[in-house]
């Protein structure tokens, strides 16, 4: 294949990739869009394999097949609740791949020091950071933010070491500072993700996603490959935008996520509340909901942990079909462990996507709703985010469930959410707490409704 044919194939692939992401604008077009992405990838790989750049197709082809088998196996097996760690793991492999390529380039005598150093640096952070994120999400290590003494000083020294070794390598081209850069970047990836945890995980995943894109840009520069640059920039932009949306939805700045200041400041703001929360039982809840004309369900991560999405869908269905209740689902952008996670979980339970609404679209509807059924969510409904400027969650956009005539909170206890802030809604006159496991409580309500 001639060089110009290769370039045309790359251009076509780039267009296909852009169209593929473009098609995610609506669920109807999205499936076709994924296929466009697959075509783009096949085109790019085949064109490269048959170009003059690759002379040994046998071994390379074998390597591709091995990767395809491993990747397909895990992708077909993964549960949708475990999606975030799966994405983190895949992301890490992409990062490691970038590390190996830049190492191979330097070993085979490439003189593009800056480009390879950047590919190595970003790829290494994406790799070790993603693996740590994977371990946290998978529960292999504690998901809580982890702090150790002199953490910031250590990170700063490490960052300086990265810069120094990078500069040393770029100037001299020696291999030793290159290895040092690799090790320092790998450690930096770990120490950057260690202090982040809990509800901040969606942000971390998005940032790491962005890094793997920028690593591809670095490799693109070192190999003079336009497709890598284009795709890398799009992926980098995508991850960056998602992190921005997530930080915005949690009212956090990127700096405060990275330095983990929320955990520290919130401890002081937990206040003693000597009010009484009213407990309801599933019978009452079922009675109130079957007589309602509009019920809005607000699922949070606790719902996913309890695997309550299927029974929740059943409850919604019974309400709609047997009692003619209008049922809607309201999703906060940070519900779940990655952007859009809750939408996937509800889709998995066959909830039609037309019934699922984003925060801005549903917020004014709570005032006309008879019941808000909050299941496994807490902070994202806390009205203090609007009223209490001293609260750590002040300014965070929240679902205004308190405006509904009756609010049910399905929760294990009155414990605070991740932010450590008490929720005054628990003590509101129109709120009933349904204590217990999200799945069990919903099952009980559904069985009463079905009678």
């Amino acid at each position: 294949m001639t060089n110009s044919l290769l370039l045309i194939s790359y251009l076509l692939s780039a267009v296909l990739f852009i169209l593929s992401i473009r098609s995610l604008a609506a669920p109807d077009t999205a499936r076709k869009g994924n296929l466009l992405g697959i075509f783009g990838m096949i085109l790019a790989i085949v064109a490269t394999l048959f170009s003059s750049l690759v002379s040994d197709t046998l071994w390379v082809g074998l390597a591709l097949i091995v990767g395809a088998l491993i990747g397909s196996y895990f992708a077909l097996k993964v549960k949708m609740t475990a999606l975030p760690q799966m994405i983190a793991a895949f992301n890490g492999l992409g990062g490691l791949s970038a590390v190996l390529i830049s190492l191979a380039e330097i070993l085979s005598g490439s003189a593009l020091y800056v480009e390879n150093a950047l590919g190595l640096l970003i790829g290494a952070i994406a790799f070790s950071g993603s693996i740590l994120a994977f371990a946290k999400l998978q529960g292999l290590i504690s998901a809580k933010p982890l702090h150790f003494p002199l953490q910031r000083t250590f990170n700063l020294m490490l960052a300086l070491l990265v810069i120094a070794s990078c500069a040393h390598f770029v100037i001299t081209g020696q291999i030793e500072p290159f290895y040092l850069l690799a090790v320092a970047s790998l450690v930096l990836g770990v120490t950057l993700v260690l202090p982040i945890g809990g509800a901040d995980m969606p942000i971390v995943i998005s940032i790491l996603n962005s890094y793997s894109g920028w690593a591809a840009v670095g490799i693109g520069f070192s190999l003079n490959n336009i497709l890598l640059i284009i795709v890398g920039a799009i992926v980098g932009a995508s991850g960056a935008i998602l992190s921005y949306i997530m930080t915005k939805a949690m009212n956090r700045s990127l700096m405060s996520v990275i330095f983990g200041s929320l955990g520290e400041s919130s401890a002081a703001s937990v206040q003693e509340v000597n009010q009484q929360a009213k407990a309801g039982d599933p019978q009452d809840a079922a009675f109130i909901m079957e007589n309602a004309s509009k019920v809005i369900i607000v699922p949070g991560y606790g719902m996913a942990v309890a695997q309550a999405q299927h029974i929740l869908k059943e409850m919604a269905e019974v309400l709609a079909s047997k009692y003619n209740v209008e049922v809607k689902f309201a999703i906060h952008p940070v519900a779940g462990r990655m952007p859009g996670h809750m939408n996937v979980l509800l889709a998995e339970a066959n909830v039609p996507y037309e019934d699922v609404f984003e925060l801005e679209a549903i917020n004014r509807e709570f005032a006309t709703a008879d019941v808000a059924y909050v299941i496994g969510a807490n902070d994202v409904t806390n009205p203090l985010a609007k009223t209490d400027s001293s609260s750590p969650i002040f300014g965070m956009p929240v679902l205004e469930v308190g405006k509904a005539k009756t609010v049910f909170f399905v929760k294990r206890s009155l414990a605070t959410g991740y932010s450590g802030v008490d929720n005054p809604l628990f003590y509101a006159p129109n709120t009933f707490m349904l204590y217990g496991d999200a799945k069990k409580v919903t099952e009980e309500i559904t069985s009463v409704l079905e009678q």
Binding site: G37, I87, I101, A215, V231, I234, P339
Partner: protein
């Protein structure tokens, strides 16, 4: 100089393309967006293919081959997970008459 300027031009323009196209993605599909973008970031496989495609066996070629395997896992895993997710997003089978469609 001109060559690297060309690459920078492509990079900057691609950033703009990415910016606008990603903002157009509906929030409900942010998870598929992540896994699709994750899959296409596996395009580093091209770099790996080139490094691994050398005729002679060397440590660089071995590293390249490992990189091909890793990127290939990323690509196949990413696209398959995306497809699984997207297949689950369904419309209502029988829209109830009293329901008003409010989807944007």
């Amino acid at each position: 100089m001109t060559d690297s300027f060309l690459l920078w031009t492509i990079l900057i323009l691609a950033c703009f393309a990415g910016y606008f196209v990603v903002w157009g993605v509906t929030p409900a599909l942010h998870s598929p967006l992540m896994s699709v973008s994750n899959a296409i970031s596996g395009v580093v496989v091209l770099g790996a293919l080139i490094t691994a495609g050398a005729t002679e066996f060397s440590s660089a070629k071995i590293l390249g081959l490992i990189a091909v395997v890793l990127a290939s896992i990323n690509i196949f895993g990413g696209f398959i997970v995306s497809q699984r997710m997207l297949l689950m997003f369904k419309k209502k089978e029988k829209p109830l008459p009293q329901e008003v469609k409010q989807h944007d």
